[in-house]
């Protein structure tokens, strides 16, 4: 008996966005990363195209951060050197480097915009993969830093952020002038997500220049909110909503490594087993869950989580005969 497969007919699809630029394209990257283009729900190859695989960005900071001890173990020798750190991440298989300019924060050394731009330039010189650059989170400072970084890295086609509902203009303008892409973050709210995309497009930046960050909640700490927002956004995009058709980035490492399950010692929680394996899986499982929601770029920290998530994504990209 032949079953008729139930194929959904979608009118829309996710935009394709390319990050980085090679020499021929006006930058210095040795590789570029293109994400999006999906015309189906995640990994349902039988009813649409999923032409590009999800990618991994590995996170670094410009000043030595106070990360989880297991991460410090991995990066001990490079954590105070963003250039060496970025190189190490590329060795671990990072498709992109995500650099957070924490040193710009008034409480963390208050680096000048020019100093921040130099860090970005140094990392650009050290690795060939595309870069994601975000500020320190202090709005006023970021508004001063990001335009200078954008100018210094003109032509590199960075992904820069964060653009938020009440502070998107300066980063979006800088991206527009210097031809970068914008990382638009909304606080776990699909209406704000859409509104922010509209505001950015009203500045004259085409939707193809934006990547959505729906705000990531970690496994066990609200991941289902992020997951359902991803699903709803993706369904909206496939039904033709242009202001939800941007690819999605999920900042997983930062959230997952804060979870109690990643931090609790086995001595204190013997019922949770080995802390090392548990912590790494907390990050990998957050990513695996959000992959099913439709994440395109996953920002991770631990190399073993990177390996696991890459392998999972590869298997899901194998187009089956059914």
């Amino acid at each position: 008996m032949a079953t008729n497969m139930l194929k959904e007919r979608y009118s829309g699809k996710i935009n394709t966005v390319t990050l980085g630029a090679t020499k021929e394209q006006g930058g210095t990257r040795t590789s570029t990363v293109t994400v999006g283009g999906d015309s189906t729900m995640p990994f349902l190859h039988f009813e649409g195209d999923m032409p590009l695989k999800p990618v991994i960005a590995m996170e670094i900071e410009d000043i030595k951060p106070d990360w989880h001890p297991f991460l410090k173990e991995v990066y001990a020798d490079v954590m105070d050197n963003p250039v060496a750190w970025a190189k190490k991440c590329v060795e671990f298989g990072a498709d992109l480097i995500y650099i957070k300019l924490n040193g710009a924060h008034p409480d963390n050394g208050n680096k000048s915009p020019e100093e921040c731009a130099k860090v970005v330039k140094d990392v650009l010189a050290a690795v060939g993969v595309p870069l994601i650059v975000v500020g320190c989170g202090e709005e006023e400072k970021d508004n001063a830093v990001l335009p200078v970084v954008a100018e210094a890295a003109a032509g590199e086609n960075l992904l820069i952020g964060l653009a938020k509902q009440d502070s998107y203009k300066s980063v979006a303008a800088a991206a527009m002038v210097h031809k970068h892409k914008v990382l638009a973050q909304s606080p776990l709210d699909i209406n704000i997500c859409k509104q922010l995309n509209i505001l950015i497009s009203e500045l004259g930046l085409a939707p193809e220049n934006v990547i959505i960050d729906p705000a990531t909640a970690a496994l066990g700490y609200g991941i289902e909110y992020t997951y359902s927002i991803l699903e709803r956004g993706r369904l909206g995009a496939l039904q033709g909503d242009k202001m939800l058709s941007q690819p999605v980035i999920c900042q997983i490492g930062h959230e997952a490594w804060r979870a109690k399950e990643a931090n609790a010692l086995e001595a204190d929680f013997p019922n949770w087993g080995d802390q090392g394996e548990r912590a790494i899986l907390w990050e990998a499982m957050t990513a695996a869950g959000l992959l099913q929601g439709g994440a395109h770029i996953m920002v991770l920290r631990h190399p073993e989580a990177v390996r696991l998530v890459k392998k999972n994504a590869e298997q899901l990209m194998i187009k089956p005969e059914i």
Binding site: L44, I223, M285, G289
Partner: protein, 447 residues
């Protein structure tokens, strides 16, 4: 939507041949409307009638139960494809494999280990649900012995996976535990299904892909309906596509052969890869995942994912409204006030831990709404906050008179100060600002 006898009668062949056991087609239709008969008893029903009536007279995914008493696992009875449309009801059961090649002390140790796969997380107990005894030895007697040993000691429902001879040897011995039988295939289904029926146990129907499985279920369902589907796992992306198609057909087209719970087996051999693979099946409709991983640190993340996916999206997640002590608190420690919305609370808790300055958190019961939602609805304003803080007794534990409120509700600080006579300190708007706030205000408590 329930159909009347007349609605059903219109779809019947009207031969009055009595082969269904009823005296007339109308009587048969009335029996069906009352749930006393099913359409497959009528040998002359048309395909159109089957489609119309099959769809209208049954829930899209049948409820199937494995195990008895406290070990019972309820599967199926799902109604949506996306959790945000309503909710997913019956969390995916994890079945951990035990090979029948183990015996004696080895087997006992393994059972004990599996019995220990019960953990506590955010105030809830999380556990695996099933033990899958697999006939790796290919020896029916060994299988029977292993099954009996597991049945005697294991705390969870049983899944028995073996060939016909093995199943025939083992199932009757443990039938009282209502194990799930794996599997009826194209070659053996008549005997395996007869065995399941005789012992009143649910059975897995295992085909090779969608078409083959549907055809097999059509045959089996005429005999027996306590079924679980297995599309014969070959690769993760294929299993995903099959489960999505099957569930869609069951829900949107009321396609009966796929109106049963589904089972998936992980293929990865590395335990970490296995649980990451299983994340896909938890999200996409598996009622049972059969796997090998048996370490707590591997299963805990998977169980958390399952718990999250099966959370009802219409009910806000809330923590108990009470005072939480973070770190080694002393009477000098700060008192933070927030709501009992789980995400709010965990955000504050995470940052208080991160500040390395011990503190009290008062999670005011706002029925699980966030700070601003609670403020807008009047649940997180001066009076209820004061009442809650006063009744919580937190101020008796400290030697000061100060409470820290979220920056977003700075507007209530005056009123709160007035009615409570507390020293109300306006904290940062986002929890992320707590470490810097704490460092600036309580440097003497830094550890």
């Amino acid at each position: 939507m329930a159909l009347t006898g007349l609605d059903i009668f219109k779809q019947l062949p009207k031969t009055n041949c009595k082969e269904c056991g009823s005296p007339t087609c109308l009587a048969f239709a009335m029996a069906m409307a009352n749930g006393k008969a099913s359409l497959d008893m009528c040998p002359h029903a048309s395909e159109a009638a089957k489609e119309f009536l099959g769809a209208a007279t049954a829930p899209p995914v049948k409820t199937v139960k494995v195990g008895v008493g406290e070990q019972e696992v309820v599967m199926g009875d799902e109604t949506v494809l996306f959790r945000h449309d309503k909710t997913f009801y019956h969390p995916t059961a994890l079945a951990i494999q035990i090979s029948d090649t183990l015996s004696g002390a080895e087997l006992d140790a393994k059972i004990e280990k599996i019995n220990g796969l019960v953990m506590d997380r955010v105030g809830q107990q999380v556990a695996i649900q099933m033990v899958a005894v697999t006939n790796c030895s290919k020896d029916a007697a060994k299988f029977k012995a292993a099954v009996e040993a597991v049945a005697a000691k294991a705390k969870f429902a049983l899944l028995l996976a073996g060939d016909l001879a093995a199943l025939e040897a083992a199932v009757p011995a443990v039938a009282a535990k209502k194990p799930l039988i794996h599997a009826a295939t194209a070659e053996n289904w008549e005997k395996v299904v007869a065995l399941a029926k005789a012992n009143n146990c649910p059975v897995v129907v295992k085909g090779n892909g969608l078409d083959d499985t549907a055809a097999l279920v059509e045959k089996v369902a005429k005999e027996y309906k306590e079924l679980v589907l297995d599309f014969g796992n070959t690769a993760q992306a294929k299993t995903l596509a099959e489960m999505v198609n099957a569930r869609r057909l069951a829900i949107k087209k009321k396609f009966r052969p796929f109106g049963y719970p589904m089972l998936a087996c992980t293929l990865a051999t590395d335990a970490k890869e296995e649980v990451v693979e299983a994340a896909t099946y938890v999200a996409k409709y598996a009622s049972i995942i059969c796997m090998k991983a048996d370490e707590k640190h591997h299963l805990l993340p998977l169980m958390a994912w399952r718990m999250n996916v099966y959370t009802d999206p219409q009910k806000p997640m809330a923590v108990e409204g009470k005072v939480y002590e973070i770190g080694d608190v002393t009477p000098d420690c700060p008192v933070y006030v927030c709501t009992n919305f789980a995400l709010t609370y965990f955000a504050v808790e995470g940052e208080v831990v991160g500040s390395k300055i011990p503190g009290y958190i008062v999670a005011v019961d706002t029925d699980g709404s966030s700070v601003l939602t609670g403020w807008a609805s009047g649940k997180f304003v001066a009076e209820p906050i004061y009442e809650f803080v006063k009744n919580s007794g937190v101020m008796d534990k400290v030697n000061h008179n100060s409470i820290v409120i979220p920056g977003y509700v700075a507007i209530i600080s005056g009123k709160l100060k007035e009615i409570s006579s507390y020293n109300v300190i306006v904290g940062p708007q986002e929890a992320v600002g707590i470490p810097a706030f704490a460092k600036a205000n309580y440097p003497q408590l830094m550890k």
